[in-house]
């Protein structure tokens, strides 16, 4: 990826994370790590967002919420699983109320492991996500031309 054609906005949702990854996601967007230098801004509205940052695993109560937010986002969209719980369930994988990683609910494009995930890993994942976003946008464009 040589350049990004747009500034991607992110939306954050806490699945059943312990907060450790959530505060690291917020810390990433704050001056210490300055995720905003990539044009990233945190939004509360799924319809404005391009990248979906999910922390924590999915359970019976929140799986519908995760799917709902994903469905409300406009194509092209990228899902980043932040933290080991979002990737696979992590330390809670054998809890009775944990279904597993976020990929049990929605397709995940980038995995950022760590407990808690480090801000550097989130920045890496977001930059990788921007690349995926560009590819998806290009694929949509060529599909439109073909049709």
């Amino acid at each position: 990826m040589a350049y990004a054609s747009k500034s991607p906005w992110v939306i954050h949702y806490d699945g059943s994370s312990c907060n450790g990854c959530d505060i690291e996601v917020l810390a990433t967007l704050c001056p210490g790590f300055d995720g905003e230098r990539f044009g990233v801004i945190n939004t509360g509205n799924p319809k404005h967002a391009d990248i979906f940052l999910v922390t924590g695993s999915v359970n019976a109560q929140n799986i519908d919420v995760v799917r709902e937010i994903y469905d409300q986002m406009v194509e092209p969209k990228v899902v980043v699983a932040c933290g080991i719980c979002a990737c696979s369930g992590g330390i809670f994988h054998d809890c009775y109320n944990v279904i597993g990683g976020v990929d049990k609910a929605i397709p995940v494009d980038v995995y950022a492991p760590g407990c808690a995930v480090r801000p550097e890993a989130i920045i890496d994942a977001i930059v990788q996500g921007i690349g995926v976003l560009e590819e998806k946008a290009a694929a949509m464009k060529s599909a439109k031309k073909g049709a």
Binding site: I11, S16, G20, A27, P31, N59, V65, C95
Partner: protein, 362 residues
């Protein structure tokens, strides 16, 4: 009397990093009732004691909540130590309290930032989180982790802090204190902050006691209850400890109490860092809790009193581990404070109880 409408608040809401769902029953712009719905973060951690032995469970205990991680590992370790009659070295007690108070500073700074964001003061949010990074740097230097520290073990602590590092901690805290005082003065004197917080979400002292509220939420309603004043562990060595209270009982009082508690924690750390005793940092813990042995413990988390209970069954696995967290105590107070408030003040009131949903639901 207008027609009442139900407005859903959350679970995905920009003001809270965590999922909390409230059904707000509103008439015109006034909230007349609030029905909290929880369970989005429930994982079933208490059940995990059956498959993790008491040494392994400490890593689960600190992942109850990433903000109060240090507090939960400390509370769990103290409970198991009293279950098994383990005497912790004095140096370990001091180091535990130093880390615990540092985590209180980081938690309150995080909260102040979120609260500022809730009333639209976004630059203040950034400033609070910038200061918080310096506390996290201390964590990273002394333990290797930023939010999950994994430093407490049953019988002591895993890592020592040497004298040079203790001096550095005090220096960093002195630096933070100057910057922080400026931020605090802005928060406590700014008119726009007062317009949003003074008189909002009032809870009287009687109501606070009736609703069993804990932590800064109750101390802002003039209830001088703070577990640290019991003087257990290294807290007993402090020359003076008075809980920070305020009589106003509104959102502004809660901001003020937490602001002053940060300064109090800085003073506690500075005092304890000067007199950390020499010696071992942990003792070897052998054997298992006796069958039927029970222990309970309270600890002042950044959000208030947290209660722990453990029961042994003669094996390395505990029979039962139970905790009652401050936010579950405070939810009734929050629902009371929300009744009769303006719809625009809801996010401010929800934030001033400093809800920690993942502690509550576990």
């Amino acid at each position: 009397m207008g027609k009442s409408t139900i407005i859903p608040f959350g679970p995905q809401h920009p003001v809270l990093p965590e999922p909390l769902h409230l059904d707000l029953v509103v008439e015109d712009e006034t909230v007349i009732d609030c029905i909290p719905q929880i369970g989005f973060v429930h994982r079933g951690l208490e059940k995990l004691v059956e498959t993790r032995d008491y040494n392994q469970f400490i890593y689960v205990a600190e992942r109850i909540c990433g903000i109060c991680a240090m507090g939960h590992s400390l509370g769990y370790a103290e409970t198991v130590e009293s279950l098994m009659g383990v005497e912790v070295p004095r140096r370990a007690e001091y180091l535990r309290v130093i880390w615990h108070e540092l985590s209180r500073i980081h938690s309150h700074l995080l909260w102040l930032g979120l609260a500022a964001d809730a009333f639209g003061f976004e630059s203040m949010f950034m400033h609070c989180w910038r200061l918080r990074e310096r506390v996290l740097d201390i964590f990273e230097k002394t333990t290797g982790g930023r939010v999950i520290l994994s430093v407490v073990r049953v019988g002591g602590v895993n890592r020592d802090i040497d004298d040079a590092m203790l001096r550095e901690i005090v220096n960093v805290l002195d630096g933070i204190k100057d910057d922080y005082t400026k931020i605090m003065n802005t928060l406590l004197t700014d008119t726009s902050v007062k317009n949003r917080t003074v008189g909002v979400g009032f809870i009287s002292k009687e109501a606070a006691l009736d609703l069993s509220m804990v932590g800064p939420f109750s101390r802002a309603s003039d209830v001088p209850y703070d577990v640290r004043s019991f003087g257990r562990g290294a807290y007993g060595e402090l020359s003076d400890f008075q809980p920070v209270t305020d009589a106003q009982g509104d959102c502004f009082a809660r901001v003020k109490v937490r602001c002053l508690e940060v300064l109090q924690s800085i003073e506690i750390i500075k005092e304890l860092a000067a007199k950390v005793p020499a010696g071992d940092i942990s003792v070897a813990v052998k054997g298992a809790p006796a069958e039927g042995a029970q222990a309970s413990n309270v600890l002042e988390q950044p959000r208030g009193e947290c209660y722990y209970y453990a029961r042994g069954n003669g094996t390395k696995y505990l029979e039962r581990m139970r905790m009652r967290t401050p936010t579950s105590q405070n939810l009734a107070g929050m629902a009371t404070a929300l009744k009769g408030c303006d719809l625009a003040d809801v996010n401010m009131i929800v934030l001033t109880i400093d809800p920690c949903i993942s502690c509550t639901e576990r």
